[in-house]
């Protein structure tokens, strides 16, 4: 009997995403049990939530009439500091992450250098910005320097990892051609490797600039400078119209950066 004969007369059923039946049921049951257990331990205070809805409505309405004027000097200073931190940290972070990326590419670096650079990347990626910021504020004191160092540190992990992956997947033939012409190591990197990874480097750098700006908005919460401190104060004082204004500015700048990065990436690629 062929396969068709066994299937004739039966209604077709959609094949499941997970084929093994016991695994499927075990996963479903496990997920249900987890959800119940999780819900039991959250203990939501629904009365409090209900009372909060009024304030929530006020906040949403605040977006229709954001208040840019009454705290304009605070907002301006905070925004400027955020932007300054972002730019400085991106420049320094990118400058440091290029040599580290070269070291973390297995086809360029010898094994010991490779391991050290990969270690640096792993450490930088595992620690969140805000935790690094807390430690750096404790060490360097309040102010934008701590924020600048935090963002630079975070940039290294992000950019080096992605750039190293790009270097590892580059076209070997071009690099070899440069080497065959008798180029020194620096010339080899400059003319054989760099032109191949440059579009990606520019794209990633602008993307990281965008991320750094978003992150700089929260560093102020722990005293590391930027707009976060102003935003936190606005929330604490229930000045939702000012908070809405700040959030709108952040969204606007992020959108502008995203648009800019789209344009630049389309040009370099």
């Amino acid at each position: 009997m062929s396969e068709v004969d066994t299937l004739i007369g039966k209604t077709w059923r959609k094949p499941s995403f997970i084929k093994r039946r016991w695994l499927r049921w075990a996963l479903i049951l496990g997920a249900l049990a987890y959800l119940v257990a999780a819900y039991m331990t959250i203990d939501v205070n629904w009365v409090r939530v209900y009372e909060g809805l009024e304030r929530g409505k006020k906040f949403v309405l605040a977006f229709t009439s954001p208040d840019f004027t009454s705290r304009s000097s605070d907002i301006y200073d905070g925004m400027l500091e955020s932007i300054i931190m972002t730019i400085a940290a991106s420049v320094v972070g990118i400058a440091i992450s290029i040599p580290i990326a070269l070291g973390a590419a297995r086809n360029i670096a010898p094994l010991p250098v490779y391991l050290i650079c990969r270690g640096i990347i792993a450490v930088s990626r595992a620690l969140q910005e805000i935790i690094v910021a807390i430690l750096l504020v404790a060490i360097f004191g309040f102010g934008p320097l701590a924020g600048f160092l935090t963002l630079s540190f975070a940039t290294i992990g992000f950019l080096s990892k992605l750039l190293a992956e790009d270097i590892e997947s580059m076209d070997k033939v071009q690099a070899e051609a440069i080497k065959a012409s008798g180029a020194k190591w620096t010339q080899w990197i400059n003319y054989g490797v760099q032109p191949q990874v440059m579009p990606r480097l520019i794209g990633l750098s602008i993307y990281r600039l965008d991320i750094n700006f978003r992150e700089s908005a929260i560093l102020g919460l722990v005293g590391a400078g930027g707009i976060g401190a102003t935003l936190n104060t606005a929330f604490d004082r229930y000045e939702y119209d000012t908070a809405a204004a700040i959030l709108m500015l952040i969204i606007l700048i992020v959108m502008a950066l995203e648009y800019l990065s789209g344009v630049i990436r389309a040009r370099v690629q």
């Binding site: 300054i84 420049v91 595992a126 320097l145 978003r214």
Partner: protein
């Protein structure tokens, strides 16, 4: 080819004169901007503290080591809360992200000029605001606790998941959709049998990827009072209990590494 004439012999150059001038000006502007930024940072820094930093760092290090291992008995519940914030937040965000993604994708949106921009605006605005800020806001609205953390993570993830998902929807194979449509299927049937099976692997991958990121983010949500292990971190920091801080940081590091490992394994199995 850009060449330079040097005493009769031609030398290869990478750029023409105009191009190199343009590059030079760009670099000049860049350096000037950076110098200005650095000056501003330097102006608002108390340099005495910075010169003192190595001593302070050493001091903190001696206070923080060894970690207070007994404290781990009190971290069980916060870790469980953190896991819940990340998982429930991811589930909520996926529930919200799926309709947004379908409204934002060019090939499934009901109206390209009215609804698609709204969906894109939702994606951009939720994505550009950090989960800590969402948590701050929600704490002001619904009070501190795990629930605020869950919602903060959920809102923050909507944009991310919806963006990746709508890109996956736009990349689907249109012939399969046409085949289902040709059988006379309704709009919903086309979606269920033509589109959903094609994006299911991408969906699962996005879910696990975002869950991994959410574990990282939920570990620090407690700093603003939204539950999880961050609460313990902030209270230990407030009383300068450095041995507890170092233990919590180790636990967070372990959680991040484990979640990344799990997510890599699951994604490897799906894709």
């Amino acid at each position: 080819m850009p060449v330079q004439d040097l005493k009769g012999s031609k030398i290869w150059q990478r750029r023409t004169g105009r191009e190199s001038l343009f590059h030079w000006v760009l670099w000049l502007i860049g350096v000037a901007v950076f110098a200005y930024c650095w000056q501003q940072i330097s102006a608002s820094t108390t340099w005495f503290f910075v010169w003192d930093a190595p001593r302070i760092a050493h001091d903190i290090w001696t206070r923080a080591t060894p970690p207070r291992w007994e404290y781990i008995s009190q971290l069980g519940k916060p870790i469980w809360d953190t896991l819940n914030i990340a998982t429930l937040g991811t589930i909520f965000s996926l529930v919200l992200a799926v309709p947004v993604a379908f409204l934002a994708a060019r090939n499934t949106t009901p109206s390209r000029f009215l609804i698609r921009p709204i969906a894109l605006l939702i994606i951009v605005s939720t994505r550009s605001i950090n989960s800590l800020i969402w948590a701050l806001l929600l704490i002001a609205i619904i009070g501190p606790g795990v629930f605020a953390g869950v919602i903060a993570i959920a809102i923050r993830s909507v944009g991310f998941c919806a963006k990746l998902l709508y890109e996956a929807i736009e990349e689907i194979d249109q012939t399969q959709v046409e085949a289902i449509t040709a059988t006379g299927a309704s709009r919903w049937q086309v979606m269920a049998y033509g589109i959903v099976p094609q994006i299911l692997p991408a969906f699962a991958g996005i879910a696990v990827f975002r869950w991994d990121i959410n574990i990282r983010e939920s570990t620090v949500l407690g700093l603003v009072g939204a539950g999880g292990i961050g609460l313990q971190l902030s209270s230990s920091l407030n009383v300068l209990a450095w041995p507890q801080v170092s233990l919590i940081l180790l636990v967070i590091l372990a959680a991040v590494v484990i979640s990344e490992w799990v997510s890599a394994k699951v994604r490897g199995a799906i894709i």
